[in-house]
Structure formats: structure tokens, C-alpha cells
């Protein structure tokens, strides 16, 4: 495990150091990898711990992007990113109580539907305002954005680790196993689920803001694209949901795979995404993390 930690620290260090020696292309790849690690890791704070599988995390990413585009130019970008994270968390707090009343497949469908609803509402608002996409002109330097994104990936990973090894995480695991039994032995299930939901929404909000600043273009259909949600779930499941390294492995594997495919066979990307998910769900339920554990002889 010591070796593992050292490896992850080296990886984060490499990501942060890329601007000093890497090409623009490599910086782009690292930005993508860090982004997906941050998203998948945040998703795992709710979904891997409680078993409430969110298929709507694009909504937090989109809310973050939208808030950020509205605030850019008005306040410094650092504050816009924090506001993006705060808004996503606030949005989760507002919708959390009703949404978390249902579980299993209903929760999956509800989160997906809600995300789509918000996407269409924002599209309507934007077209009513006569705007078909907003350009941003004054964006921070690419390496600054990269450092922020690597920082978010590290933060999300530390957060996920802290949750899993805390009293909070023990309560969430009990909720995943049997919510009624958990409540009977004193676990405040509603409060814990809501806190996990908020925790898992905040970083995706900041990620949405950063991704927006990197492309310097906001378009609601893209910012709230459900493919973002699908990709998060696929990465987390392929990586493995029963450890913190799972989302990292899944995000790295997929982000690198998609880089390869985008440059050679872009139309294959979604097909490969789907096939990989099927293969892993059927044959490798513990994901890449489980495979690595078996090879390494560790747990």
C-alpha cells in the first residue's frame, strides 16, 4: 500500500509537471485524464459507497459550467470555479431530499431524467435569450487550468479515501447493504445520503467550470451532455467500485483509450465504451482494481 501511495503521488506530480516539458497535446491528454479521475472519484463518493447509482452527474458538471460562464469576466476565474462548485453542491442539496427517496433502478432513471430536464431548460433559456453558445475571451493560461484540474483530481481522490475510511463511510456502507437495518441501529440515513450527494456534486461543478474555460465556449447541449454521465459510470464500474484506486484506473484507461480512438477511429468510441462496460459488468465485476489486486496478490 505504501508503494501504491507513492505511485499515485508520482502520477499526480507528473501531471502537474507536464507544462514544463510536455507538448500542448500531452497537456490536453493529462487535462482529460485528470478531469475524468475527478469526475469518477466524485461519483464514487455517493454511488460506490451507498449503491445509489447516479446516471445524472452531467447535471452538476453542466451547472458548474453554466455558472462559470455567467460569472467569467465579472469575478476572477478562481472565484468563478469556487462558485461553480458551490452552485453544484447547492443544487444537489435542493434536489437531494426528494431524489434520494427512491432507490435502485428508480434512482438511476430519476437522476438521468432530472439531468435531461435541466439540460432542456437551460437550452430553452439560452435560446430565449437569443444566445446559441457563448464565447469566453479572457481565459487563464492552459497550464493554470491544468494545475487546477490535477488539484481537483487529487482532492477528489483524497476525499473519496477519507469518506471510505471514516465513520461517515461506515454509515454509507450500511445504507448500501440494508437501509432499514441501518436506520434501526441509529444511522441517520436521510442526512447521510444527502451529505454524500452534496459531496459528490461539488467537485464535478468545479470540473465543469474548468472544462468550460479550457474550451472557452459554452453550449448547453454539450455542457449537460448525458454522455458525460454515461462515461463517468462506465469508468467507475470498469475501474471497480470497491476501492479508491478503481475510479483512477478506470478513468485513466478510458481517457487514454479515447485519445487513441479519437485520432484513429472516432466513430468507434461509443461502441468500444458500450462493449467494455458489458464485458466488465458480466465478467470482471470487481473491475480493473480487482484485477490489479489479484495480480499483485493484495486485497
Amino acid at each position: 500500500m505504501r508503494l501504491g501511495s507513492a505511485l499515485w503521488i508520482a502520477l499526480a506530480g507528473f501531471g502537474a509537471a507536464v507544462p514544463f516539458f510536455g507538448s500542448t497535446y500531452l497537456m490536453g491528454v493529462v487535462f482529460q485524464v485528470a478531469m475524468w479521475i475527478a469526475l469518477a472519484q466524485s461519483w464514487s463518493m455517493l454511488s460506490a459507497t451507498t449503491g445509489y447509482l447516479s446516471l445524472g452527474h452531467a447535471v452538476f458538471y453542466g451547472v458548474g459550467a453554466y455558472v462559470c460562464v455567467l460569472l467569467t469576466g465579472i469575478i476572477p476565474f478562481e472565484f468563478a470555479i469556487l462558485a461553480a462548485a458551490g452552485s453544484a453542491a447547492l443544487f444537489a442539496a435542493l434536489i437531494g431530499l426528494p431524489v434520494l427517496r427512491v432507490r435502485g433502478p428508480y434512482f438511476v432513471i430519476l437522476t438521468y431524467g432530472l439531468s435531461e430536464l435541466v439540460r432542456h431548460v437551460v437550452m430553452r433559456i439560452e435560446s430565449a435569450l437569443g444566445s446559441f453558445g457563448r464565447m469566453i475571451f479572457d481565459v487563464p493560461a492552459q497550464e493554470v487550468l491544468l494545475w487546477w484540474m490535477v488539484g481537483l483530481a487529487v482532492l477528489a481522490t483524497l476525499g473519496a479515501y477519507a469518506i471510505r475510511h471514516s465513520r461517515f463511510g461506515a454509515g454509507l456502507a450500511a445504507i448500501r447493504e440494508d437501509e432499514v437495518a441501518a436506520q434501526t441501529i441509529g444511522v441517520p440515513v436521510t442526512r447521510l445520503k444527502l451529505l454524500a450527494f452534496i459531496a459528490s456534486a461539488a467537485i464535478p461543478g468545479a470540473v465543469g467550470g474548468l472544462a468550460l474555460l479550457r474550451t472557452s465556449y459554452f453550449e448547453p447541449a454539450q455542457a449537460f451532455d448525458p454522455v458525460i454521465s454515461f462515461t463517468i459510470v462506465t469508468m467507475a464500474l470498469v475501474g471497480g467500485t470497491d476501492s479508491v484506486r478503481g475510479p483512477i484506473l478506470g478513468a485513466m484507461g478510458f481517457a487514454l483509450l479515447s485519445e487513441l480512438l479519437w485520432s484513429t477511429l472516432p466513430q468507434l468510441y461509443m461502441i468500444v465504451l458500450g462493449l467494455t462496460l458489458i464485458v466488465f459488468v458480466l465478467f470482471v465485476p470487481r473491475g480493473l482494481s480487482g484485477l490489479v489486486g489479484r495480480i499483485g496478490g493484495a486485497r
Binding site: A173, A174, D178, A181, G186, V189
Partner: protein, 239 residues
């Protein structure tokens, strides 16, 4: 001293009166038996007391506090915990981890890791599951899972433990062990028990007082000896 006071509790499910005007007092340190045929309302009464379903009328007072409107987790933190007739282990967690959650979130919250570990060890010893602590709870035998239910309730630090048919499905030897365990827990830990049981012999030997429910109504409330002589009870049970 009265620990649990049930005052005129009724529960209506549509046209069905699951409980009608049930009143009883459980004293501190007592083992209180609840008898009744299938559908008599025993489990419904448990669910009302533990806060899983609200009563239609009447109220429940535990340790001087009214439980009306409190969620099951709040009630547990006050020191009242139930088990389930159909066991509900956290199947994917180890036996010890099941109890650790109870210790961390039950009545004695805000524990250090060592204190929680001590509570887990004590509860495991109390029910004889110490040697299976690392096993996934889902892999325990039924008897083991019934004992896990009890251990988990104990680990919450509850003063009053309500056991819903913890002996159903156990063989006679296991029933004997369970009786010894419960008696020992009462004296060693100063606990109060409310017990629902189909194994009538067990209930008769264990309980200080017994209440018999039939179709949601209380038809007898007395010591085991008198319940044994009660004609109405015999009629309900044996036709």
C-alpha cells in the same frame, strides 16, 4: 420503574385494525414476552414502538420521552433497538464491521476507534460470534445471523432490546444456548428485553410477564403460570 409505556396504541391499515387500544408497561430489567398467533399484531407493535410506522392513535413513551414523530435512528440513539424476524444483516460487510456501524451510530456515539472496537468485541463475545468476526455476514448460518441481529442491537448500547422471533428456525440445542445468552445478558448488562416468540416453551421459561395479542387486541396480560392456565389463550392457540 417503568422503562417503556405504551398508552392505548391502535394501528389501522385501511379496513384492518392491526392493533386496537393496546396498553402495557415494561419495567426496567424485565424480560417481557409478547405472544400471539400469526397476524395477531406482534410485529406491527414492534414497528410502531421502533418508529418504523406511526400509530393511528395512542402514544409510546420510552424512558420518560415521547417517541411520537421520531425516526427509527433517533429512537435507537435514545436507547431502544429492535431486531428483525426476517434477518437483515449487512451481508457484504464482515460480522465485526456490522457491529462497528452499530457502535459508531448507536446510543454511545462519538467514540474513539478503540472504544468502538471494545464494544464490538464485547458484543461478539456475548453472543458467541467472536470466532467468525472476519466472515462476511451473509455467509453466516441462520442461527449465526439471528445472533448477529442481537449482537448488533447490543452494540448500539441499547437499554431496551426488542427481539422479534430470534429463536424461530433454531434447533433445540440452539434455542437452549439462546435462552442462556439472553438470561446472562439481562443480569450482566442490566438490559430490558421485549420478546416476540413462536417457541412458546421458550417464552414461558424466559419471561417475567407475558401479554397475549389476538387480532390486534390484548386478550391476556399476566405471569407465565397464569397465561398457561388462561382458557381464552388456550382457545386462541390450540382451538
Amino acid at each position: 420503574m417503568t422503562l417503556l409505556d405504551i398508552k392505548g396504541v391502535s394501528k389501522r391499515f385501511g379496513g384492518l385494525m392491526a392493533l386496537s387500544d393496546v396498553s402495557l408497561q415494561v419495567n426496567k430489567g424485565e424480560i417481557f414476552g409478547l405472544m400471539g398467533a400469526n397476524g395477531a399484531g406482534k410485529t406491527t407493535l414492534f414497528s410502531v414502538i421502533a418508529g418504523h410506522i406511526p400509530p393511528t392513535t395512542g402514544e409510546v413513551v420510552f424512558d420518560g420521552k415521547r417517541l411520537a414523530g421520531l425516526s427509527p435512528d433517533r429512537i435507537c440513539r435514545l436507547g431502544l433497538c429492535r431486531t428483525f424476524q426476517i434477518v437483515r444483516p449487512f451481508a457484504g460487510l464482515s460480522v465485526a464491521e456490522n457491529l462497528r456501524v452499530a457502535a459508531l451510530y448507536g446510543r454511545a456515539r462519538k467514540l474513539s476507534a478503540t472504544e468502538a472496537a471494545q464494544i464490538v468485541d464485547d458484543a461478539l463475545d456475548a453472543v458467541g460470534l467472536a470466532d467468525r468476526r472476519h466472515l462476511d455476514a451473509g455467509r453466516l448460518t441462520l442461527s449465526g445471523q439471528k445472533r448477529l441481529e442481537i449482537a448488533r442491537a447490543l452494540a448500539t448500547g441499547a437499554q431496551l432490546v426488542m427481539l422479534d422471533e430470534v429463536m424461530a428456525g433454531l434447533n433445540p440445542t440452539e434455542v437452549g444456548t439462546m435462552l442462556d445468552t439472553l438470561r446472562r445478558l439481562r443480569t450482566e448488562r442490566d438490559l430490558t428485553f421485549v420478546i416476540v416468540e413462536h417457541v412458546i416453551g421458550a417464552l414461558m421459561t424466559l419471561s417475567d410477564r407475558i401479554l397475549v395479542l389476538d387480532h390486534g387486541e390484548c386478550i391476556a396480560f399476566s405471569t407465565p403460570e397464569e397465561i398457561g392456565r388462561n382458557e381464552r389463550v388456550a382457545e386462541v392457540y390450540f382451538g
